[in-house]
């Protein structure tokens, strides 16, 4: 991906290894996403990386009926995911009937190519056992 700096490369290296990496502040213990050189909560520069559980729930979603470009075949589901660790990220919901998606749905991470990009973290509903 163009313009990825050293910091963001840690995240994308994680993705390549099947890991969803987020930052945690060594001073105030807060998690944050997207990666930053400072903690957005306390401005500390002492941050560590941790592998998120990959579990979360759908905070909101939309079924895109008119794709952004030819690389994205509509319909596709864009969602905001609240991870267990308390951070939010944008992603896709995959392997789900778009009509069955609801806010609050429990989801878990997968890694899959979307559009023309390398694999990205995407989410799929947790199947009740």
């Amino acid at each position: 991906m163009a313009g990825v700096d050293q910091l963001n490369q840690v995240y994308f290296d994680g993705v390549a290894d099947g890991q969803l990496r987020i930052q945690q502040c060594k001073d105030c213990a807060a998690y944050q996403f997207y990666p930053r050189v400072i903690c957005k909560h306390c401005s500390s520069e002492h941050l560590s990386w941790t592998a998120a559980s990959g579990r979360g729930q759908v905070a909101s979603f939309t079924v895109v009926r008119r794709g952004v470009s030819a690389a994205f075949e509509a319909p596709y589901v864009i969602a905001l995911i609240d991870l267990e660790e308390g951070v939010r990220m944008m992603s896709h919901l995959v392997d789900v009937d778009p009509e069955q998606v609801v806010t609050g749905m429990a989801v878990t991470v997968l890694f899959r190519s979307v559009g023309e990009a390398d694999p990205q973290p995407v989410f799929t509903p947790v199947v009740a056992s």
Partner: protein, 386 residues
């Protein structure tokens, strides 16, 4: 700082809608010179020029290039880089320039030609470039999709319905029907909106603003100078801004916007309440944006925006006329300049020149614009000079 010694003395709109005989810069020049003439001034009287950049043909020094085209040599030039909220932020910059002695008479001019001069490739590039380059763009979000995330959250939190969102366009067209300069004037029903093409659920085509060509400009100076000019001066009574985030995935609350902050500050400075507003010119880029502004600016309870729209309150004859020109849903939305027509329409209403949509009583107008994805907000309260 008291704003009420800053007056709007000139206003001009170019041809609007589909304008194929001139591009963004020519429209901006026409708007600039038109507003100066409307103010009863000579171009040489202008010593400040503020413009917004063009998305169709961006120029590094846009205000300076506009001045050059007009043969003006203002002592103060400022180009504001983005859309939405910057329209009214630019108004505040103009006032600040006058208050601090940077300039005495300032033009705020905005124009673009998204409808006729934007190539499809450039349009896709602009759309693709919205969103965080590494943590949003890879997922292929569209601008309607961002607002759809907000709409869905409002439905889940407050029980708002798709039919209530549809009322935004019903209201817009009820006004636009009475405005000969509006790009789309045909009345629509809730069913028409619900049956329009799906774009990003729950939003359909008629929940989305239009794509237009056009420009407009206003002239600001001190109230003292305004007394010698042809039009009764309109003064700035209050101003506020609010900025909670830029990227939608960083919003901590999808249904509560920083319009609450900008509105509160503007009302406090003006010394009035939402119930004192006779005309609200809001940023209706997408139906949920309008609905949430009605709530966050205090025109109805939080969560009641859908019912408020469905009550007809914002339509002709309603208790809170909103976007009497038709707004960006129907009148004109050339991109970055979209909100300026809310201002030029307000001035037309103050002058009693709005013909069949003329409001019988107008003291206080609220102007609101937002940029990003309900991210960056600016509110202005206008009133008549004492």
């Amino acid at each position: 700082m008291d704003l009420s010694n800053i007056a709007i003395v000139g206003s001009f709109e170019t041809d609007l809608g589909v304008v194929t005989d001139r591009g963004p810069m020519a429209l901006g020049v026409q708007a600039t010179l038109g507003a100066i003439a409307d103010a009863g001034l000579k171009p040489s009287a202008i010593d400040g020029l503020i413009t917004c950049n063009s998305l169709v043909t961006p120029i590094m020094y846009h205000a300076e290039a506009t001045a050059e085209y007009c043969g003006l040599t203002p002592g103060h030039c400022l180009s504001v880089g983005t859309g939405g909220g910057t329209t009214y932020t630019a108004l505040r910059y103009a006032a600040a320039a006058i208050q601090t002695g940077l300039a005495s008479t300032v033009v705020v001019s905005m124009a673009d030609s998204m409808r006729s001069f934007m190539t499809r490739d450039r349009a896709m590039a602009v759309q693709s470039s919205s969103g965080h380059p590494h943590f949003e763009q890879p997922y292929g979000p569209t601008v309607p999709a961002y607002y759809a995330l907000i709409a869905r959250a409002h439905m889940d939190t407050f029980g708002t319905t798709e039919a209530q969102f549809a009322e935004a366009m019903v209201s817009s067209r009820a006004w636009a029907h009475q405005n000969p300069t509006a790009q789309y004037r045909e009345r629509v029903t809730v069913d028409d909106v619900l049956a329009s093409k799906p774009i990003a659920d729950p939003l359909k085509l008629l929940d989305c603003s239009i794509v237009s060509d056009g420009g407009a400009a206003v002239v600001l100076t001190t109230l003292e100078r305004a007394r010698d000019l042809p039009h009764a001066p309109i003064v700035l009574k209050g101003y506020g801004e609010g900025h909670h985030y830029e990227h939608i995935s960083q919003a901590t609350d999808l249904t509560q916007s920083a319009a609450a902050d900008s509105g509160k500050a503007a009302f406090e400075q003006a010394g009035i309440q939402p119930t004192d507003i006779d005309l609200a010119q809001l940023y209706d880029c997408f139906s949920p944006a309008l609905l949430i502004q009605l709530e966050d600016l205090g025109f109805c309870e939080k969560g009641a925006g859908g019912a408020f729209l469905a009550s007809g309150a914002t339509q002709p004859g309603g208790k809170l006329p909103v976007n009497t020109h038709g707004g960006m849903l129907s009148h004109c939305h050339p991109g970055n300049p979209g909100a300026i027509f809310g201002l030029t329409e307000a001035i037309r209403q103050y002058r009693g020149e709005a013909k069949e949509r003329q409001l019988p009583h107008l003291e206080h107008t609220l102007l609101h614009a937002q940029g990003g994805i309900m991210s960056s907000h600016a509110t202005v309260v206008l009133g008549r000079a004492n």
